[in-house]
Amino acid sequence: MSRLLMALFGVLPLLAAAQPLDFLHWWTSGSEAQTLAELRQTARAAGVPWQESPVAGAVNANTLLKTRFLSGHPPALAQLDKAVAVWGEAVPLADLSEVAQGWRQVLPTVIAAELQYQGRTVAVPINVHRLNTLWSNLALLQRHGLEVPRTWEAFFAAGDRLKAAGVIPLAIGGSVGQKFSVFADVVLGQGGPQFFRRALVQGDAALLAGPEMLQMLRDFKRVKAYTDAGQAGRDWSVATALVIQGRAAMQLTGDWANGEFLKAGRVAGRDYDCTTAPGHGALHYFEFDRILFFKPASAQQADEQKRLAAALMQPADSTRFARIKGGIPVRVDADLAGFNACARRSHQDFKAGSANGSLTLALGAQLPEATHGAYRDVISAFWASDRMTAEQAQQRLLKASRVID
């Protein structure tokens, strides 16, 4: 009872000096749990005392993380789904700069920069997920005499043919994220990464209110005509299943869909294809899993954090995480042996994008949560409503870009 009371009043952190590194995360599903086992093994091998605090669901995990900071016993590490700065402004973080010296040579600049807060490295990347992939059922497309569309014009033309033949051209899930990724794919495919950055990340009013953005919003809404009525409440993996079964021809979603095709025994390049979204060429639009390191409780913990960070970035370990979690390794010098064709192509584009500067980080990791959320509100409302015009959506998008906190 007295221990419970002490915990309630947050006295425990005083006793926590000799505690292991506590990792708060929401990796609870099959492949995620396997990745976790790998992380645990890497930590143990590096001689770091390791402890896990799993919470189901990102929202719950983030709420618990906040609560633990407020009650005075924060974890040493946590899974991160926001921009590093969001946490950096709120709580003290660790400083891993000492072990991160060489990371700039093996990581793309975009990633190395996003691991830093105020010039100090505070997080470690685990793996990269490509977001701008068009998954297509090759047999189905061939049966209708179609090729995988490489431009939005070709996409709409193919969509018309498929629709007339009674096939769902584009499978889509019910979440806001699924629609938002279609919007991002349209903007990136028609405007390119520069436009994307200036309009959506920097909120350039001239671009957001301009004729190009209006056309992009129209095309985004036009995509809806090629999706089916059963999308409400549908999980992305169910949408992928529609493509695998041949009831739908294509899906625009991240590379986590690859696992679904593999599980169903399909072969990339023969049964299904994984090209970039229409108009994207070799552009790589991605998000990456990373672990945020909080201010250590003691000098000993600081040392353990650094050892862990160094161990997680070892080439072999880093590659192993990606193979199990899906996606691709975060290091540009990674060896892709044992990865399938989709992952190899993704990593190739990832390296090329890193070299020529076109590599684009997910909007959610570049914007304040409030702004990103406001954009998502507009896009999801516009997709759903048949009354909202593209002009109205554009006005609201402009307004959303000014929502900061």
Partner: protein, 292 residues
Amino acid sequence: MKSYLERWLPQLLLAPSLIVCLLFFYGFMLWTGWISLTRSGMLPSSDFVGLLQYQRLFADERWLGSLGNLARFATLFVIIPLVLGLLLAILLDQKLRAEGALRLIYLHPMALSLIVTGTVWRWLLDPQLGLALGVRELGWTSFRFDWLGDDDLALYTLVIAAVWQISGFVMAVFLAGLRGVDEAIVQAARLDGAEGFTLYRRILLPTLGPSLFSALLVLLPAAIKSFDLVVALTDGGPGHASELPALYMFQMAFERSRLGLGAASAMVLLMMVLSVALPYLYARQRRQRRAG
């Protein structure tokens, strides 16, 4: 000694729960009020900004939309169960043989949590897999029922599920009211020639005022607080077409890292619930004063 204990024991026993209530109920209410006046984002802060969060709240189309949805939802959620509940109560009042069993059947939806209700109805109303598929398989191949995916009609799927859930309860309240009428009055009315419809219209229904009041007092705050049903059935979608204010509050406070804005919307919800409860409490107090 004994009298001392006798005098203080009730207070002593009530004290812990009273303190817990004060702290966790009114304490947090005050705290939420304070947070709504600060710039709190991901974590609570004490940066005072006056009514800024309320200005932001009422400049947000999503919030205004959810208020409009609440108005439509609450109107139907109150009127339909009242009418349906009253009808069922009158029918059950006809001294049926299987009344107990029927009452149980009508009350049963109440035993489910709203999450279960929402999930079941989401499956039933699924445009491709649910009831619509069943009807199509029966032979009506062009049958469509896609309210869940329609931004004008999605809100009414919430009404369907909520009415299904709550009507039995309203029926029970009215039935108790009908049964509470003094048998002598009913007999007297019968002697005067009142039968059937007239008996209900002139004698029984006018005595149901208190039942109506208690039903309203349950229904209105329930409508304002509706959260779990929305999450399970439509998740506010498509877009925000079926979003109610409680869902907005939750998403802003916990998913968007806009704690101050979420707190402001919580305070507005509190005001709405109070505006339902206070007039009732006031009226009751006046009646008691008049009676005493």
